[in-house]
Symmetry: C2
């Protein structure tokens, strides 16, 4: 039987991570859960996020048999990785550490910018992870970007303008601290859909790190190393099962933009609450 | 003892309604609940919204002794007014019907535009309420406006641009249907903070209906008529108690913009889930 990898997000932004995983791990069964009834996590407290994320992780492990979990949600990775690891008996990979490691590898100046949701920034998880790699980082919450992506304005002049305003403010802050950033980390799984606009807004030569790509690369290494199952059969069919706690219609309608293919039928589940 | 009016919203946008109520009903005790742990309701399903709203209404009646409820949330009024009325034994006033009545009174052409959240629009509650008053209405979801208000961009050129785009699309739809709208209903309690931008974006002579004002006027009539208590003593001190299910810090920080005065200390409560 194909091994199962559980992928969790508060919404469907994490489908950008699932997309990157599918490309790298053929023949695997993926169970994706979007806790859409309770999104966005980005504006909620640590206590609430930890409770929601632990319930979601338990669903993927207990009900779906996941033997490895990827937390495809920056906010949950930043605020609840410990709570999730305590809640389930399988390896759990968050999205922050791989993003920080990729930024360290990309940066020459040793200074990085991070854009993310309010709660991710408030946690300073990226700064801590970057510092642990010897990289200085400065973070900014960009609360308008998720709504702009969900409105479908991924290539809209207004979105370009908003990104320009946020990056100018962030660069001014960095300059005031004597930093010389050459790397920008997209610390939210919605932001890969804005990659083109971000690449147009950074200084020439600056690198844009997509945390969805980074976590998928790390997951491939960890999954192949940790799995007690035989390695996935690359000739086998990849299976994708999507679950949501609400708004299945919205998930099915918007999800394909993130996954890059139709998400198929999404099953509505109830985690209580 | 002063009578208690319960005011409920999914977040703190409903503080614009509370502000309008305070101005009109001195000497009353107001208990305001923002279900901030589970906001925004606007993107969730009817079933989920009804469950959350009924729990919130029960808190205000059972725990806070409210003898009258104002649902200061367009989404909950549109999708869950029946469920709330079933859940509590006190009169419940939603925000939709007073807004529609005010639009009917304001319009000369008999055609109105309505801007609101996605779930409010999907419910077509405003169209139904306007039609019942003999007014034609056409609605548009404007999902970027709540995030723009919460980012504090209530007077920002980007917000003006977004409002212009939304209204142009809506007017084009109205024209295609042969309508000649002269009235715009702000069908979300966040939108009164954008009133100036909306007034600058409508055609000269068009009227902007603020549903917060409309529901407060209707509440004054109903409360004074329905209350079994003696009429509120206008010389008595108005008392305001605010409760939230999460993000008390954010509530306290942003709430004063909506209430027009400091919200004071906000008490964190747990409705479960």
């Amino acid at each position: 039987m194909a091994p199962t990898i559980g992928v969790f997000d508060s919404g469907f932004g994490g489908l950008t991570v699932l997309r990157a995983l599918i490309e790298r791990l053929p023949g695997v069964r993926f169970a994706f859960l979007g806790d859409t009834a309770r999104l966005p996590y980005g504006s909620k407290s640590r206590r609430t996020i930890a409770r929601y994320a632990a319930q979601s992780a338990q669903f993927l492990v207990r009900e779906q048999g996941a033997e490895f979990l990827v937390i495809a949600c920056n906010t949950a990775s930043a605020l609840a990785l410990d709570a999730i690891q305590d809640a389930v008996p399988v390896p759990v990979l968050g999205v922050i550490e791989p993003g920080a490691a990729a930024a360290r590898a990309a940066s020459v100046t040793g200074d990085a910018l991070v854009v993310a949701t309010e709660a991710t920034v408030r946690s300073h998880a990226y700064t801590a992870a970057c510092n642990a790699h010897g990289l200085r980082a400065i973070e900014k919450a960009c609360p308008l970007l998720v709504p702009l992506v969900e409105e479908g304005w991924t290539d809209h002049p207004v979105t370009g303008e908003v990104i320009g305003i946020y990056l100018n403010e962030l660069r001014a802050e960095a300059a005031a601290k004597g930093m010389n950033p050459d790397t920008l980390v997209l610390g939210c799984t919605h932001y890969p859909l804005l990659r083109r606009l971000f690449e147009g807004a950074v200084k020439p030569g600056a690198k844009v790190i997509d945390s969805a790509e980074s976590v998928a690369q790390a997951a491939v290494r960890l999954f192949n190393g940790n799995s007690a199952q035989p390695a996935a059969d690359s000739a086998a069919q990849t299976e994708i099962c999507c679950f949501a706690t609400d708004s299945v219609e919205k998930f099915e309608r918007l999800g394909s933009r993130f996954l890059g293919r139709p998400v198929g039928q999404v099953e509505l589940i109830d985690l209580g609450g």
